[in-house]
Assembly symmetry: C2
Homo-oligomer: 404 residues x 2
């Protein structure tokens, strides 16, 4: 299979399976300028599927950096709320939304952490209406990867850049099941497994989960009436879609007031361009009360206290160590991959899809925030135990693998 063939297959998988673009539907795409080749193929695919308009918003590393290297304090704290609001409006009117993930992970590593934190906070506040529509289940959305040079250099700093790009694409194509004769059929099998796990866990309705191993000892209350999700989603009109490709996780909503103990994060988190390594967080009463990190500590501390909900949890997700991404044993510096290599918890806003439709978020224990940041706690030492409301303990994962 040539590289071009694989990109075409990725475009077809994205439009036909990931997004399931409907005739007459508009599609909004955000992508790095380096991903233009894939964006062009996806655009043709989407028009072929009947899209009424494909609107692409290209970002560029040098333009992003210029705000920090040449911008005033005013510029650091400014974000285009009007544009996020306009995109949110388009989605409320039915537009689908695609993000191409693959920007340079450490882009802002050399910049002043205080500036980065203030810029991130401004960006999060401005993007809130947009993120609310994305996570509300109103419209079909999808994230797929594209290997940019900036990303590949971060993953393989010691390889020549062309080789780094090629090697990383190899992993990406395999993680996307594009090495299968019929990638959609392969994904249907994955989605069937995820459906079994989420149905089992939803039915059990555990009161809490206990994570233990590799330094982590964390008891996490689950929201009242929580629903486990993972794999495919479905709009009110019956349209199915697959938000993340690749995806290996089942996930639900924690209770914002019940997290106790210590989480040792096993992979770096990329917080809007800054790589945070060696993160350790202690929780009490649902809140992160102590945040330390070997690298990027200031960025993490500021980010996780940027609003009241940013220090509490909005998601918990289970991923086995046998997932193809975990087995590749690559540190991707990209949430779309690293979150599918390991169990994780997310700081910030929780997803309404993890409650029954129309449920009272406040009463259920949902967390509210302008941020949502996945942080990996999974590893080969981790066990996960479900704690029922009667106090009984049920093993869910042992040594990183499902036992249900």
């Amino acid at each position: 299979m040539s590289f071009d063939d694989n990109l075409d297959r990725l475009a077809r998988l994205c439009v036909g399976f990931g997004l399931q673009v409907k005739p007459g539907q508009e599609l909004l795409i955000t992508a790095d300028i380096g991903a233009a080749d894939l964006v062009r193929r996806i655009t043709r695919e989407a028009y072929g599927a009947g899209a009424s308009n494909v609107q692409v918003f290209f970002a560029d590393d040098a333009i992003t950096l210029a705000r920090f290297t040449h911008g005033s304090e005013d510029a650091i704290e400014t974000a285009p709320g009007w544009l996020f609001e306009a995109m949110a409006g388009a989605m409320r009117n039915g537009s689908a939304r695609l993000a191409i993930a693959g920007g340079t992970p450490g882009l802002l590593a050399e910049q002043d952490p205080g500036k980065v934190a203030r810029a991130n906070a401004a960006q999060s506040v401005a993007a809130k209406p947009f993120m609310e529509v994305v996570t509300s289940g109103l419209t079909n959305w999808n994230i797929v990867p594209f290997v940019t040079e900036g990303w590949a250099k971060q993953v393989y700093p010691d390889l020549p850049v062309a080789e780094a790009v090629e090697t990383l694409w190899g992993h990406v194509f395999r993680a996307l099941r594009l090495d299968h004769d019929d990638p959609v059929a392969a994904w249907q099998t994955v989605f069937d497994t995820l459906a079994k796990r989420r149905e089992y866990l939803t039915e059990r309705a555990f009161s809490a989960l206990h994570f233990e191993g590799g330094g982590t000892d964390l008891t996490l209350g689950l929201a009242k009436g929580h629903v486990w999700a993972g794999g495919g989603l479905r709009l009110a009109d019956g349209t199915g879609y697959a938000p993340n490709l690749p995806t290996e996780e089942v996930f639900t909503m924690p209770d914002r007031g019940r997290a106790e103990g210590r989480a040792v994060f096993t992979k770096p988190a990329v917080i809007n361009g800054t790589i945070v390594e060696g993160l350790v967080v202690e929780f009490a009463g649902g809140k992160a009360v102590k945040i330390t990190a070997d690298k990027g500590e200031a960025v993490a501390q500021t980010y996780f206290t940027s609003d009241e909900g940013a220090s509490r949890l909005g998601e918990v997700a289970l991923v086995p160590e046998s997932s193809p991404i975990a087995r590749s044993d690559v540190l991707y510096f990209n949430t779309l991959f690293d979150e599918n290599a390991a169990c994780h918890i997310a700081f910030g806003n929780s997803y309404s899809m993890n409650l029954a439709p129309g449920a009272d978020r406040e009463a259920a224990g949902a967390n509210e925030s302008t941020i949502h940041m996945d942080c990996m706690i999974g590893g080969p030492e981790l066990s996960v135990t479900g704690i029922a409301s009667d106090g009984n303990r049920h093993p869910i994962m042992e040594k990183g693998e499902f036992v249900i």
Copy 2:
């Protein structure tokens, strides 16, 4: 001077003289993806000048084409009105606006002219709120060129592409006075000359202009209370700016009801990607009553009848044959250059800046339309005569040169 130096000088000219970005002002940039190098330099320059946010909207030939090659009829007639409205809103709130001109002129030449016309009409309607803000004098705006491969190939089809790009850049840098030690001082001299012409012509308050030569014999009534513009403009708060770089024209508003005779257009017009050549238009009562062309006739006929005002005139502009762009004797297939090589008239909407502030457009004879398309009638044979309200005739240009 290296190419990089020239691009940096262009970025400085654009931000410091063309736009005169104010501290705290947002800047919206539209550009072809091929112009990213210049956009990056301009972004750094604008942040350096105190811009609060630089928001870039990149277009891409392949993405534009995909609508025609892969899109449904629905897609042909869809344009993102919500995005134009959002950008118009940002400008009403004070954002400056920069267009980088340099897309591929004949991009849509191979496409079905009916489809192209319907797509153009949908685009014009959707863009109207945006164009209204641009032409209302509410905010500072600027257009500068960037030589893309697609543009250079159109101008020099027989040269190897790298040589075509280099040759065209040479003309562009000279037209922009970047070969002068102090390009801003050079532009100030040009603007002084334009100011003298526009002041003379405004003071004379001619009732009509008579264009004659090279097959053209056209008498064009001027709007009541018309004002000649050209060179620099000034916002209500006193900020000066230079909308077009390069620019060599003085221009004013015709009376929508008074154009009689025949215009033979001396350069091709690029109508949203289709090149129209050999255009001849006969006017009666201000209206184009017969439109013929050697190439692109259907696109021109449809475009110039896309609404009531599209067949009437919104601008008349005078440019001497001795302008550096005319002297380069290159057909640029790009309005920003070709309009500055020759006298021209524009079909469609007229500019309020060509009347006194607050004047009644309707009563003055202003034309209203969703389109505004410059078409060149100038040439070495053309004479222009001013006709005063008492019927007296005053020579303005002879054999393509000013005699005032």
